[in-house]
Amino acid sequence: MAEQERIKRQRTERSTPATGEVTVDSSKGEQLKADLDELLDEIDEVLEENAEEFVRNFVQKGGQ
């Protein structure tokens, strides 16, 4: 693990990723949970009406 951290630090010093670092703070977990609850509140409007029929009829020919 020490080896990993050393390597990671080295790289971070050498260059900054093109996109922003993801910072993990304590509020992120709560926000994620709230977002999930919100999505679960509205998901039935998005889900196909008859789930059983939808799932049963989803038959594909095999591919590669």
Binding site: I7, R11, S15, P17, T19, K28, L32, V55, V59, Q60
Partner: protein, 495 residues
């Protein structure tokens, strides 16, 4: 020196609907709809395609050459991609890209191509015949279809070494790259009683090394069809991956695999860890364990989790980059981004999966499935949970669940729109795409390694493109700008 990692992804999309619910008809409608919309009806040229060639010295006894369907809809796009009907699925094969980030961009552009095709097609169909497309890999009933990666590799690396270097990675990378699946669908999977898997594809793999892609699928595919100068290049055809909705996952999939291949080319196979003793079993057992605790013995009798393997491989890759390796993948920042994201995903799935629910498909999907299951006290593989699984991959914005779970977007939206039409500039895809765009009436057929022109007089003329790293904008843009017609271009090429 490792060869520049030219790479790309080809995706077979799940398809439903269409007249008579015939998937071949629906797939053809999709391809033709886009081709008509885009005016890019160049046919694909099958000369040079020989999917039966095996990278090993001899063809395995159980191997059969796959069937090549030559009569189905097939077209080349101005972005250098191929859009066609493969088996009973519409398939988008991205153009040759030079970096993992570019590979991601053109994979996402492929989703956009399919979405546009879907809109054009459904505008002309009755509502009851409307087509839907899914970027997934299985129907939940034992039928699977692929999302294949391709990587340029030096020919002088022995294929056995490629196998030794790749197996542990391909078996274990699902811990961060799997797209997740509710339930199981093969005999072994069903016998396990598992209710959620890391991977869409894992349970369909039956051999370690082999030539097939539609049956007895192997962890390392041996198709030896470089679409390039076979004296210098291999094309490693990786068939085991899940189609990812997460852009970060696609980036890390391409980046991690390409980095390990570059390491192999630069420093040999010695640094790589021992293989799992039974790679197929390891692949499947790892897939069935979202808690990431299952261990499998390696060749030396030591047991490892899939996470352990990934940790080891990340460390190998990071040390290689710290020594100055990785230039074959592009600039420092791009390589750093791959390593950083790979590491964050690994730490996240170990410490607190919800932390990487914005990047790891199987985690994002599982949170949705588990949340819904708890809310309505459903059985773990209830039809509504399977519907959530399917709709995670639905390409329609109004139906897609992946679009609603907050996945990080790293491909620039303007860049995606441009990538739908314009080819990468740093590979031969540039020359292919530009010729299709500039001389649409003269380009009569195309393949990865050649273009065929019909000038309306004299014989057809084939322009070979055997080096994926030539035909770039730097090498051909001036020439193309000077040539207003295909006649002029071919005269200049002759001269």
């Amino acid at each position: 020196m490792a060869v520049e990692k030219v790479l790309g992804i080809e995706t077979e999309y799940g398809v439903t609907g269409g007249p008579g619910s015939d998937p071949v008809v629906a797939s053809s409608i999709i391809v033709n709809a886009y081709a008509q919309g885009a005016r890019a009806r160049i046919s694909w040229d099958f000369e040079g395609e020989n999917p039966g060639l095996d990278a090993r010295a001899q063809v395995g006894r159980t191997a059969f050459a796959p069937i090549v369907e030559t009569h189905l809809a097939n077209t080349v796009l101005t972005n250098g991609a191929r859009l066609y009907v493969d088996h009973a699925h519409p398939e988008y094969s991205s153009p040759e890209c030079r970096t993992p980030l570019e590979g991601l961009l053109y994979d996402v552009a492929g989703e956009e191509v399919m979405r546009r095709a879907l809109r054009v097609a459904n505008d002309s169909l009755r509502d009851v015949d409307a087509i839907t497309l899914y970027k997934n890999n299985s129907d939940g009933k034992g039928n699977s279809y692929g999302c294949h990666e391709n990587y340029l590799v030096r020919r002088d690396v022995p294929f056995d070494d490629v196998v030794r270097a790749m197996v542990a990675h391909l078996v274990s990378r699902q811990v961060i790259l799997g797209a997740g699946k509710v339930g199981t669908e093969t005999d072994d999977g069903l016998a396990s009683g598992a209710t959620y898997q890391l991977s869409q594809r894992a349970e369909f793999f039956e051999e370690v090394v082999g030539l097939e892609t539609t049956m007895k699928r192997p962890i390392v595919n041996t198709r030896d069809e470089p679409h390039a100068d076979a004296e210098r290049f291999r094309r490693l055809h990786v068939i085991i991956g899940d189609a990812n909705m997460s852009q970060v996952a696609t980036l890390v999939k391409l980046g991690s695999t390409a980095l390990l291949l570059a390491l192999l080319e630069d420093e040999g196979v010695g640094a790589f860890p021992p293989l799992p003793h039974d790679p197929v079993r390891a692949l499947r057992h790892y897939a069935l364990d979202p808690d990431l605790r299952v261990v499998e013995p390696d060749e030396d009798g030591r047991t490892r989790t899939a996470w352990d393997y990934q940790d080891l491989l990340w460390t190998l890759a990071a040390r290689y980059v710290a020594r100055g390796g990785g230039v074959a993948l592009g600039d420092d920042d791009a390589v750093a981004m791959v390593l950083d994201q790979w590491r964050e995903m690994l730490d996240g799935v170990r410490d607190d999966p919800s932390r990487v629910a914005d990047r790891v498909d199987w985690v994002a999907k599982r949170r949705l499935v588990e949340g819904y299951r708890e809310r309505y006290a459903l059985a773990p593989t209830h039809a509504r949970l399977r519907a959530i699984d399917l709709q995670y991959h639905d390409l329609r914005p109004e139906k897609s669940l992946a679009a609603r779970v907050g996945l990080r977007e790293i491909a620039d939206r303007e860049g995606i729109r441009e990538a739908v039409h314009k080819a990468p500039t740093t590979t031969r895809a540039y020359f292919r795409g530009e010729c299709v765009a500039r001389y649409p009436d003269a380009v009569t057929a195309a393949n990865w390694d050649s273009l065929v022109f019909d000038l309306g007089h004299g014989p057809l003329q084939r322009v070979p493109m055997m080096d994926p790293l030539r035909g770039t904008a730097a090498l051909t843009q001036d020439l193309l700008d000077k040539c207003q017609t295909a006649d002029a271009l071919l005269a200049a090429l002759d001269g």
